[in-house]
């Protein structure tokens, strides 16, 4: 029991070391799939052994050594099948000391690992799972738990993702500079999805999923350390900080959703907001403005209003107009309609919504009905508002959201 207090720091340390050690093992053995398994096993061994026997002098070397041994075992059993050609190579791999000189490339390695895990050939679900395991250092069981699927299913998903990477023959190296921008966007999208998974899970039974947001922020922070000059990386990190700052105020104790305008702003995490704003302020002057920065800027405007009625809607509208020009995203168009309504009146907002009715991507989306209901309510057409709140409730697949929409309808129909 004396080992108890050690558990948390060890877990943290292991998760930080995971991508570093994995980078070293992949570099040496050139087999990402097997290396990833080896590092996961080494990490498991450490989690069992370190609390009992104390930390090794050099935890990273310990992990690397164990992972090398596992790799050697793996190759040996493989080559036993294909005769014994590789014996010499294995011995070298096993005997060579962990390469501490490679330390300065750790960060590059982490980035390359992220590029691999978020490869466009993978489905989002596979990329998310693989990223959380290979770079985040989470166990398969933890990831399965977070996504509420059986562990065997998650294991299979990860192993298929690794197989796709193997089949695609992607080398373990930095993509070319032309490719790099594109690939970094894919990484950011996966990190954004992980954050979103955690953030929108609000009710008590899903509390553990909130860790996914923290993990997404940690990984994005790492990418920001490696790419401090990339404004969109900073933008995404700022967006996460500014959004997550409102987490406590977002739901009631009973797990009900509380919309932004009604949130108890004293519950917002002021320090995190300050961090997000500071990050944004150093980033914006650097030039190229992208969608994540704009989203972050919008979040910052909301966060800086001490009361809902103090919100600087004209500024938010201007930001949404920039964002709309940048991306043809119907959800952005919906938010733009809300901002328009707040500045120019509900009727103007409703007119913009009419234009979205024929957009197949959003026509059947519950959010179109939800926004329409909200604007109709602002316009004073309560009967139609009730109808659209109910229509939105019938379409959403989100439990707290459905309850929220139904309670809005109930409130208006008295």
């Amino acid at each position: 029991m004396t080992a108890q207090p050690l558990e948390l720091p060890i877990e943290h340390m292991l998760r930080e070391l995971t991508p570093q050690v994995l980078g070293l093992v992949v570099r040496r053995f050139r087999d990402f799939a097997a290396a990833e398994d080896a590092v996961q096993e080494a990490s498991f061994a450490a989690a069992m052994q370190w609390p009992r026997e104390g930390l090794p002098e050099n935890p990273r070397a310990w992990l690397t050594q164990v992972a090398y041994r596992r790799m050697a075992d793996h190759i040996r059993s493989e080559s036993a099948r294909r005769r014994r050609e590789n014996e010499a190579a294995i011995e070298m791999g096993q005997l060579a000391p962990p390469v501490e000189a490679a330390r300065e490339s750790d960060q590059d390695d982490t980035l390359i690992l992220l590029f691999m895990c978020c490869h466009p050939a993978l489905t989002p679900a596979s990329a998310i799972a693989l990223t959380l395991r290979a770079v985040g250092g989470l166990t398969t069981a933890e990831i399965a738990h977070a996504f509420l699927v059986p562990e065997a299913t998650m294991a299979q998903r990860i192993s298929r993702a690794k197989q796709s990477i193997k089949d695609s023959g992607i080398p373990f190296e930095m993509p070319t500079s032309e490719e790099r921008v594109q690939r970094l966007r894919a990484v950011l999208h996966v990190l954004y999805l992980i954050f979103n998974e955690g953030y929108t899970s609000s009710s008590g039974r899903d509390l553990r999923r909130a860790d996914l947001s923290k993990e997404a922020m940690r990984l994005t922070w790492i990418v920001h350390q490696v790419q401090p000059d990339d404004t969109e990386v900073a933008g995404l990190l700022a967006l996460m900080l500014l959004t997550d700052a409102r987490r406590l105020a977002r739901t009631s104790a009973a797990g009900e959703l509380i919309p932004l305008a009604q949130q108890e702003r004293a519950l917002w995490d002021r320090q995190q907001i300050a961090e997000g704003v500071a990050l944004l302020s150093t980033t914006l002057p650097k030039g190229s403005v992208g969608p994540y920065q704009l989203q972050a800027a919008i979040s910052a405007v909301h966060d800086e209003a001490s009361r809902a009625e103090d919100t600087d809607w004209p500024q938010i509208l201007a930001l949404y107009e920039l964002l709309r020009r940048m991306s043809d995203n119907p959800i952005v168009a919906l938010n733009h309609a809300i901002a328009t309504a707040m500045v120019h009146g509900a009727t103007k907002g409703l007119e913009l919504l009419d234009a979205l009715k024929d957009d197949a991507r959003v026509a059947e989306h519950h959010r179109l009905d939800a926004v329409r209901a909200h604007l109709l309510e602002l316009a004073g057409d309560l009967e139609a508002a009730v109808r659209h709140y109910r229509a939105a409730a019938a379409k959403t697949a989100n439990w707290p959201e459905r309850n929220y929409l139904l309670s809005q309808a109930a409130r208006l129909s008295g």
Binding site: R160, A397, N398, P400
Partner: protein, 131 residues
């Protein structure tokens, strides 16, 4: 996103199934087994169960004192759940494709049964922030 795929049938459908040849039945069972295994291998499997047949089905309501009041008389046209699969997929289209696969499970003479499969989304707490 998770979807439940439900295979429904009337009492008449169940009674027909009971008359299948041993060979047809075995082919169907083998198909279902391999289908579940495929879902697992594909990394989309969440759960599956087959249900007892409707002959023993009861409709239960709470009486005044909370005691169960049971009723088992159903109209002939009523559809009963025969079994379900829950899958975790990236989009609804993927769920429909999986449903079509199981709909094509072999019936009498090995001919695809093309049973209707009801596909419904399972409520979760996930919602896209929309970027």
């Amino acid at each position: 996103m998770k979807y439940i795929l439900m295979m429904n049938g009337t009492k008449a459908n169940f009674a027909e199934y009971a008359k299948w040849s041993k060979k047809d039945m075995e082919a169907n069972v083998a198909f279902m087994r391999s289908f579940s295994k495929q879902l697992k291998d594909e990394g989309v499997f969440v759960a599956t169960e087959g249900l007892g047949w409707p002959d023993q089905a009861k409709l239960v309501r709470a009486g005044k004192d909370g005691a169960p009041i049971t009723d088992g008389v159903f109209p002939e046209s009523k559809e009963f759940l025969a079994g379900y699969w829950i899958v975790d997929v990236d989009n609804p289209e993927q769920a429909y494709k999986i449903a079509a696969r199981v709909s094509g499970a072999p019936g009498p003479g090995g001919v695809p049964g093309n049973m209707p499969i009801e596909v419904r989304q399972v409520l979760g707490s996930h919602s896209d922030l929309g970027l």
